[in-house]
């Protein structure tokens, strides 16, 4: 967990925070622009970037975590994707006719 007791600088924390703020404003603003189907894509991409910033920096995964932690995170995401995608296989193909 914190084998090296890596203490992040306040500058880095504030930097990440500013980035998250900017992305929040951007995602809200972009939603008013018509990008067709890409509105959803952009919104989810921004959300994912924000989530990654929180996980990697605020939750210390980038600088102070074991491989096992990363494996746990990856597994959770993987199984969630299994749930979503395999369910959608049914819904996307149900009313093809």
């Amino acid at each position: 967990m914190h084998e090296e007791a890596h203490v992040m600088s306040t500058r880095m924390y504030y930097g990440i925070w500013i980035t998250l703020m900017v992305l929040t404003v951007v995602t809200a603003a972009v939603s008013f622009i018509d990008l067709g189907p890409f509105n959803t894509v952009v919104a989810l991409c921004i959300a994912t970037v924000k989530a990654l910033l929180v996980v990697l920096f605020f939750m210390h995964v980038k600088y102070a975590s074991e491989k096992l932690t990363k494996l746990v995170i990856a597994s959770a995401i993987f199984f969630l994707i299994l749930l979503l995608s395999l369910s959608m296989i049914d819904y996307l193909t149900r009313y093809l006719a």
Partner: protein, 543 residues
Amino acid sequence: MATAAVSAERETYLNKEYGIRSWLLTTDHKRIALLYLASITLFFFIGGFFALLIRLELLTPAGDLVLADTYNKLFTMHGQIMVFFFLIPSIPAVLGNFLVPMMIGAKDLALPRINLLSWYLYIAGGALMLYAMVEGGVDTGWTFYTPFSTAFSNTHVVEAGLAIFIAGFSSILTGLNFVVTIHRMRAPGMTWSRLPLFIWAHYATSIIQLLGTPVLAITLVLVVLERTLHLGIFDPNLGGDPLLFQHLFWFYSHPAVYIMILPAMGVVSEVLACFSRKRIFGYAAVAMSSIGIAVIGFIVWAHHMFVAGISLYAALVFSILSYLVAVPSAIKVFNWTATLYKGSISFATPMLYALGFIGLFTIGGLTGLFLAALGIDVHVTDTYFVIAHFHYIMVGGAVMGYMAGLHFWWPKITGRMYPEWWGRLAALIVFVGFNLTFFPQFILGYMGMPRRYWEYPPEFQILNVMSTAGSTILAVGYLLPMVYFMWSLRYGKVVGDNPWGAAGLEWKTSSPPPTFNFDETPEVTWEAYNYDQIPVPEEAWLE
């Protein structure tokens, strides 16, 4: 090496402290295992009682013992209690709790207080379930399908749903505890490749408990919200999809069946190795196949929904994936068989159960492949064929694995040996009773008898009578161990550290073990199943 001396003088986890507080507030994984043993046994017999009532009703074609609505409640309660309050916890909560720390050379599980919390959650869920039963029961089937469970059933769906939600948390915390323990608490030298296969099995089981159970939890919450606050998302009147419930329900409940079988497979590996005096053939394959079953088990769930209304394309995908999950199971069966080859076999009671497991699990598993074939499934789904299939795996497989484990580790847990000939007799009675109960059900299902029906056409009676007769024999087979296990606590032969001459760290400490398991932390320098280095014991029960 401690001898079978006067155990009253030696401190064990049983005599360290007396009094009910020392049991109800214990954090010792071994005591918690016994707390679970008592409560799980109670639920087993309650669930079994419902089964006997079902079989009694089905003795005659007419619905003449109970009302149709009551019959619905009987099979629902039988299923819910057996699945959630017996099978899911059974081996992990009893044998896993007792043995996981010992097998890896640790003093306790990583999170002992969470372990106790797990048991209390189980008891709370169990109490709520009993309350729901006493208040009139539930009639939705153990599967709670909507919209019947959310909009039409007049029974105690909310209480039962919440009871299972609470018990689910117990299961999640047990899984969490095992994963953390296996990662963090292994003794020096106990590398991953030296772990007993029982540990690998419980690791795989724990992954399923961790990642699958929460989906059941949220699904039950949504059902309760729909029933109480009318927050409808499964309601067809609102455009809701009843199949969404089924997708979410089976996303957990299919992997749940692997929660039930994987630990039993772990037991079988240990027992088979000991009573063949050989290492398990293909250790890595068996270990990896446990993980494989856990992962692949998550991507096959909609094979429970082939005729429910999913798209044909989805059905094809899930059918193919379901064939895939049979592969790691088959790998285990082949490896176990290879283990037996040229082994020095002895037929102690645990071995009888383990051998029975291999045969009956194979039958159950192969009939699963029948069901995975869409063409066959259309005809036999929701018939007794399915019931026979899963009882072969759950009872012929999981319960026999549990019995094998109970008998194998009983001397370690209690310091006493059960009477071996009674053990073998009970095993035989169980085997005969089981097959007589459930084999006719394959035929009944194939002939078209639907499940969950309280009456049936007269031409099905003979097979039903056979099945009911079998169930009474099976009941005797399960009652016998109750009696002789209790008897053994007072009159059973006192044993030493390793009556079976088995491999594994748990056999290197006294029976029953001291509170902190080992007098000194073991340092492991040998591979698992080093039977070439362990002498055959001279005890009489191996004749």
